[in-house]
Amino acid sequence: MMNTSMPVPRLAILAGPRVDGDLTQMSDEDLMSQFQAGNVEAFDLLVSRYKDPLTNYIYRFLGDMKECEDLLQETFLRVYRNRHSYRRIAKYSTWLYTIAGNLARSEYRKRKRRRLYSLQSVNRDEEEYEVEIPDETFSPDEHTESTIQDYYIQEALKQIPEEFREVVVLRDVQQLAYEEIAEITGLPMGTVKSRINRGRTKLQSLLKDIYIPQEG
């Protein structure tokens, strides 16, 4: 359940009423109901279920692990704080990804503004432009094939526009349904499908270096 050897503090103020039954067998929505009734173990379980998928979503979207960690924590804190605003008519995962997506988009735009501002301040012509600063720390020789693939995928994702990247990550990395993606992003279903295809098309040329041709 936990990835760490550090003990989780079980504070009395966080402890809620215990509920009979196996929480691990419950659906996300049932767990959320338990959590709304005061069972904090249900919240812990929801965190366990979604911490990795959400990490992938935020990281693939932002491309920065430190920011990803901060946003991941903030997402779950918002789930905790706003637990009573969740209604069972929505899927828990959709609600969760909507929170994370809003945070990630907001952070991405803030970062973009900061970058433009900092470049503007050093550019004599006051001309706005973006420059991707290469990651000098990555050394493919020291990594396994999957790490290399992972690195190139991330670099490719960083190079496609935000509106395409988000839907491609939600669809291909998170494996969400079109309906869920439409709800999370607030886009019509047709736009979602169109952006997914255009995002994949843009990724084609960027990922051609790691494509292994199949013989015969």
Binding site: I13, Q73, D172
Partner: protein, 205 residues
């Protein structure tokens, strides 16, 4: 499948009008009847067939390698710690609104009581030698109560007295008035007595 990735430099192609179809086809979510018709169309267009194959490979890469990142260690520990802090902070405003006022009131009351007690304890003991304002009044009144009362009684009609009589009787009358004034205002007694006591304490530790 395809011989390799191929597209123009920008990764764009001429199939943008098929975006939704291509998305559904590559994902395998297309309605079977539509899929059959679309497959026939793709077979008739080699460029499109190659493009579809590349899209499928791109999707495979993303699906296979895109979710290899794991959540940071200790996430739940940090969440619990942060939530504990927030809960404690949420409780603080209730106390923070009351506590400062309460503590101020307690401090003021304590100070006044301390002043009073100090004055009460140190005042009488030192009154004989020090002769503080209040103590002087009290001791004077005690010593000369009878004479003060009689002098005051004699002063009931100042207009009938001579200038000399007024000058003679003014001091005891004023003192008697002071004494009576203290009796009328208890808080004044506390403050004056306390202040006198503290003044003596600090002046003669």
């Amino acid at each position: 499948m395809c011989a390799g990735y191929h597209s123009d430099g920008e990764g764009e192609n001429s199939f943008t009008d098929l975006d939704e179809f291509l998305c559904e086809y590559v994902d395998g979510t297309m309605d079977p009847a539509v899929r059959k018709a679309f497959e026939e169309y793709v077979r008739s267009e080699p460029a499109l067939a190659e493009h579809v194959a590349q899209l499928m490979e791109t999707r495979r890469l993303l699906c296979h390698y895109g979710h290899h990142v794991h959540a940071p260690c200790g996430l739940q520990t940090r969440l619990h710690q942060q939530l504990s802090i927030e809960m404690l902070e949420a409780q603080r405003p209730v106390l923070s609104g009351v506590a400062p006022r309460l503590s101020s009131a307690v401090a003021l009351s304590s100070f006044l009581v301390l002043l009073f007690l100090t004055g009460l304890l140190t005042g009488p003991a030192e009154s004989a030698s020090e002769g503080g304002a209040v103590d002087r009044i009290v001791s004077y009144a005690d010593d000369r109560e009878e004479s003060l009362v009689s002098e005051a009684a004699a002063f009931t009609d100042p207009w009938s007295m001579t200038r000399e009589q007024v000058r003679t009787h003014r001091a005891p009358w004023n003192r008697l008035q002071d004494r009576a004034g203290i009796g009328r205002d208890t808080s004044l007694i506390l403050v004056v007595a306390g202040a006198a006591g503290v003044r003596r304490t600090y002046a003669h530790p």
